[in-house]
């Protein structure tokens, strides 16, 4: 049990935020419950499912493995802060989501992949998304969506 608190300042989706937080609070709970950015989800709190994926200083992280105090001074982007429209639209068109619980994490991870590798193979996509659990889709439509967006961007 800990009652220790610390003050942190950061930007979330471009807005400056300052809050007093318990040191044991993880980033995703802070974003969800203190700030109301509920687009990032919690599926395991063990770093295994990727539902809590957010972008911290330009890199995706597991929001359940990072403490809120570790984000002090950082720039955090969640799904509410936006993700490439073409990716989002292709997920919609190909029905690359069912319940949508994994989707914010999938989108942020996919966007990151496409930034790093504009020409991924389907295997690359499957590999890159292997930290994001989806129980509904069977993954194929997600792979198709990312692959199609990459193709469209190249042409």
């Amino acid at each position: 049990m800990s009652t220790k608190h610390r003050r942190i300042s950061l930007t979330v989706n471009g807005e400056a935020v300052a809050r007093e937080v318990p040191v044991r609070l993880n980033l995703v709970d802070f974003l969800r419950h203190d700030l109301g950015f509920t687009g990032s989800h919690v599926g395991c709190e063990q770093g295994a499912c990727g539902a809590c994926t957010v972008v911290l200083d330009g890199q995706t992280v597991r929001g359940c493995l990072v403490l809120a105090v570790q984000a002090d001074g950082c720039a955090v982007v969640t799904i509410e802060g936006g993700v490439d429209d073409d990716l989002r639209e292709m997920f919609y068109t190909l029905n690359a989501l069912q319940c949508g619980f994994c989707t914010p994490g999938m989108l942020l991870s996919s966007a990151e992949l496409l930034r790093a590798n504009p020409n991924p193979s389907r295997e690359d996509i499957r590999e890159y998304l292997s930290g994001n659990f989806c129980r509904c889709t069977g993954y194929q439509a997600i792979v198709d969506a990312v692959f199609t967006v990459a193709e469209a961007r190249r042409s």
């Binding site: 318990p22 969800r32 509920t38 919609y92 029905n95 319940c99 129980r135």
Partner: protein, 779 residues
């Protein structure tokens, strides 16, 4: 035409923006958080519960034990009138006196924050007296086994037999008999969003409002009302966005009931969100069957008879309100289902033992019935030196065999086994695979192909739960409301957890009414707003909810045309609606927009003559009258590569040919099927809730309980043939079980095909590397 079009889902737009509203996203004023104290033992007497230390912690508001809840909530017994001899031991919202599985909740702590509630739960001091546990169904039925329930004389919960013809005759005449002992281990639905609830009790009017991640709001409304002694209309259950359900979320869970009672006792809104460990520990589980089966063949390979014995367990109690019988029941009903045979015997025994409760998870019983049948058929093919495809063609029920009552006692209206197989072999060049397989074997690479034919039982009729005494609607009702502007609100009793039934219903309404899709919104998942219905489970949404929507849309269309005709001085029969405009049916001339009808109907009703049917809010219902299930069918072909040194199985190509009758939306059905296949592959290769001998769960995290991730999964080709049911106008059958139903059997057969040259075989799932290496004699 909108029906049959691949329309994406409206709801997806919101989810893609991160604007979904899942239960844990909701915060209510003065809301408190609930955490449970769970039994660390599989079986233990609760001697005392000390709450003082927990109560002294900051933020802790109350600690509840079974005694505290006694006056506020009833216990229950999972009875089913179709199975009157099934044992139905009493269960309490919190364990009373004895905990019967590791993870059973014995106390609940509410506190200002979740962390404080968890801290409180850690400080609740339970004095335990550990009791011997039984963790295996065979051991549970042994004469000296410790008995779980005081009012029982053994752990045998139920036993029954389904018989057709005389199997002794079949096996007596048989030229060949194949036999196998199967073990299908325990797993669960593992929705990514865990179970969750927010319960709020308003004492002035005694009103319970619940937001719950659930599939069946009306079932929950009824249960909370009855168990808590509230008038039903004072209970409202809202299912917001649900992050995957798969059957996991259509049961009563004691945990969630405790949250409702805690809200009433504390006067504060109470939130409970299961974490991943307690999901594995206390969710409804599935499978855990040991099946012995044999099949008798004639000299040329005709199936003469099938005998199957299923031993499974319900966990520590029966699941409420549906009971735990269905999985075993489906196995006794569906084994051998695709094949013509006269002689059949299926025996079933269900035991109680010290594990979490077993219930209904996607494709209840189907994967096992399918895997058992199809493995035996493949073994028969080997024995008879027949090609697996030929032996199936020889034995499949043919189109002119229908309608028919199966040897398992299920009515099959019109199934298309041969059609599906024809299509599959058109898409999959089996001879080419065989040639490649032979070549690769020379290089020490072991690949295999497996076929699995399945029957998919969907859209259960009122004969099952209605007759059984459960308050679960098998009927669906649709309420349509034309707004003043001419757009339409559609209220349905089926619910959407991502499968897209909202969109399917929207398509039906659009088509039948003749209005644009964008003018219709489907509203579901609210027990106060929506007509009483069954929710979504067992693939019932399209077949029942779709049909009800079609009827309501037709009625509303008729009323719109009545009003239009009265304004135009025409006969309604000469008018129709197209793209939201009333037109002349013969000439296509536009007369007036539906929005005009909305305006006149709601704001200038004096312009409508008396005596015509002009309601702009209409309700219609649909429920089957004469069948237990609506059966669909299909088959899957899987290919795998087996690494005989590591025991790792890699799925390669996977094909599904599926017949679910008329398809409302091919895009959504295809993706449903794919998701189902991957769940089935998970069960075939990875997913297992393992316990040690003392009943301690060994797989409490995603590090130990492996789920299929993108990297290991194959692409899945899906094709359909459509044999509409004639029992409804729409002709839709359910589609949600198919993927899972056939995946286990196809993978099992593919693995066995791969290792056949090594004189090895396996009949246990999941086929983990250690099990496979053992089967190969390598460890």
């Amino acid at each position: 035409m909108s029906i049959g079009a691949s329309v994406p889902r409206d709801r997806a737009k919101r989810l893609l923006l991160g604007r979904g509203q899942f239960v844990d996203d909701i915060q209510l004023p003065r809301m408190v958080h609930l955490a449970f104290v769970r039994s660390p033992y599989a079986h233990a007497r609760i001697e005392a519960i000390g709450t003082a230390e927990a109560m002294a912690l900051p933020g802790v508001i109350a600690v509840y034990t079974a005694d505290d809840l006694e006056a506020a909530v009833s216990s229950w017994r999972p009875e089913h009138k179709l199975f009157p001899t099934m044992a139905a031991p009493e269960q309490f919202a919190l364990a009373k006196g004895t905990a019967r599985w590791q993870g059973e909740a014995v106390a609940a702590v509410i506190a200002e924050s979740r962390a404080q509630a968890e801290d409180g739960a850690e400080q609740v001091a339970v004095t335990w007296h550990e009791l011997p546990a039984v963790t295996d169904a065979n051991a549970a039925l042994a004469p000296d086994a410790p008995i779980l329930h005081d009012d029982m004389t053994s752990n045998l919960a139920f036993t029954t037999e389904v018989v057709a013809g005389d199997v002794a005759v079949a096996f007596g005449q048989a030229a060949h008999v194949v036999e196998e002992h199967f073990r299908f281990h325990r797993h669960s639905g593992v929705s990514l969003e865990p179970r969750g609830i927010i319960a709020e009790f308003e004492p002035g009017e005694s009103r319970l409002t619940v937001h719950q991640s659930h599939q069946t709001p009306h079932q929950q409304q009824d249960l909370y009302a009855r168990l808590m002694g509230l008038p039903e209309h004072k209970v409202r259950v809202i299912c917001p966005d649900v992050g995957g359900a798969f059957g996991l979320k259509h049961h009563l869970m004691a945990d969630e009931l405790v949250a409702c009672v805690a809200a009433r006792l504390s006067g504060r809104p109470v939130k409970f969100i299961a974490d991943r460990l307690e999901s594995f520990l206390a969710d409804i589980h599935c499978r855990d069957h040991e099946v012995h089966a044999r099949m008798a063949f004639s000299a040329i390979g005709e199936i003469l008879g099938i005998e199957v014995d299923d031993l499974f367990n319900a966990g520590a109690y029966g699941q409420y309100p549906r009971t735990s019988i269905a999985e075993g029941n489906q196995i006794t009903r569906l084994t051998g289902a695709p094949y013509r045979h006269e002689h059949y015997r299926a025996g079933l025994r269900m035991a109680f033992l010290n594990k979490s409760i077993l219930g209904h998870i996607r494709s209840v019983g189907h994967p096992i019935a399918c895997a058992v049948t199809e493995r035996l058929v493949d073994m028969g093919a080997t024995e008879l030196k027949l090609d697996p495809i030929e032996i199936r063609r020889m034995n499949y029920l043919a189109d002119d065999d229908f309608p028919r009552t199966s040897s398992g006692g299920v009515d099959f209206e019109n199934l298309s086994f041969n059609g599906c197989l024809d299509k599959a072999v058109e898409m999959f060049d089996v001879p080419a695979f065989r040639a490649e397989q032979a070549n690769l074997r020379n290089e020490g690479i072991y690949r295999g192909i497996g076929i699995a034919t399945f029957v998919e039982l969907t859209a259960i009729g009122p004969e099952y739960y209605g007759e059984g005494g459960q308050h679960i609607s098998a009927q669906e009702t649709c309420l349509l409301r034309l707004e003043g502007s001419g757009t339409v609100r559609c209220y349905t009793g089926v619910t959407d957890q991502g499968q897209g039934i909202d969109t399917g219903i929207q398509q039906v309404v659009a088509d039948v009414m003749g209005v644009p899709l964008a003018d219709i919104e489907v509203i579901s998942g609210d027990s106060a707003l929506c007509p009483v219905g069954g929710g979504s489970w067992g693939s019932r949404g399209a077949a029942l909810g779709g049909e009800a929507a079609m009827r309501a849309a037709r009625t509303l269309r008729g009323n719109i045309l009545n009003i239009a005709a009265s304004q135009l001085q025409k006969d309604p029969g000469d008018l129709t609606i197209d793209q939201g405009v009333v037109i002349d049916a013969a000439s296509g001339t536009s007369h007036m927009a539906v929005s005009e009808i909305g305006r006149i109907g709601h704001f200038q009703p004096y312009n409508i003559p008396d005596g015509i049917s002009a309601d702009l809010t209409v309700v219609e219902r649909y429920g089957s009258r004469d069948r237990m299930f609506l059966a669909g069918n299909g088959l899957q072909i899987a290919t795998v590569e087996v690494d005989i040194d590591t025991g790792i199985v890699t799925p390669l190509r996977h094909l599904v040919v599926h017949d679910c009758g008329r398809i409302l939306n091919p895009l959504l059905v295809r993706e449903q099927v794919r998701g189902g296949v991957v769940q089935g592959i998970g069960a075939a290769l990875y997913e297992e809730l393992r316990y040690d001998e003392d009943g301690h769960l060994l797989t409490g995290s995603f590090a130990d309980y492996l789920v299929p991730m993108a990297g290991e999964m194959p692409d899945i080709e899906v094709a359909h043939i459509e044999t509409p049911t004639k029992t409804s106008e729409l002709g839709a059958k359910g589609a949600g079980e198919a993927g899972t139903a056939g995946a286990v059997g196809s993978i099992l057969n593919a693995v066995n095909d791969a290792i056949a040259p090594l004189e090895a075989s396996i009949a246990v799932t999941p086929i983990t590397p250690p099990r496979l290496l053992k089967a190969l004699g390598r460890i």
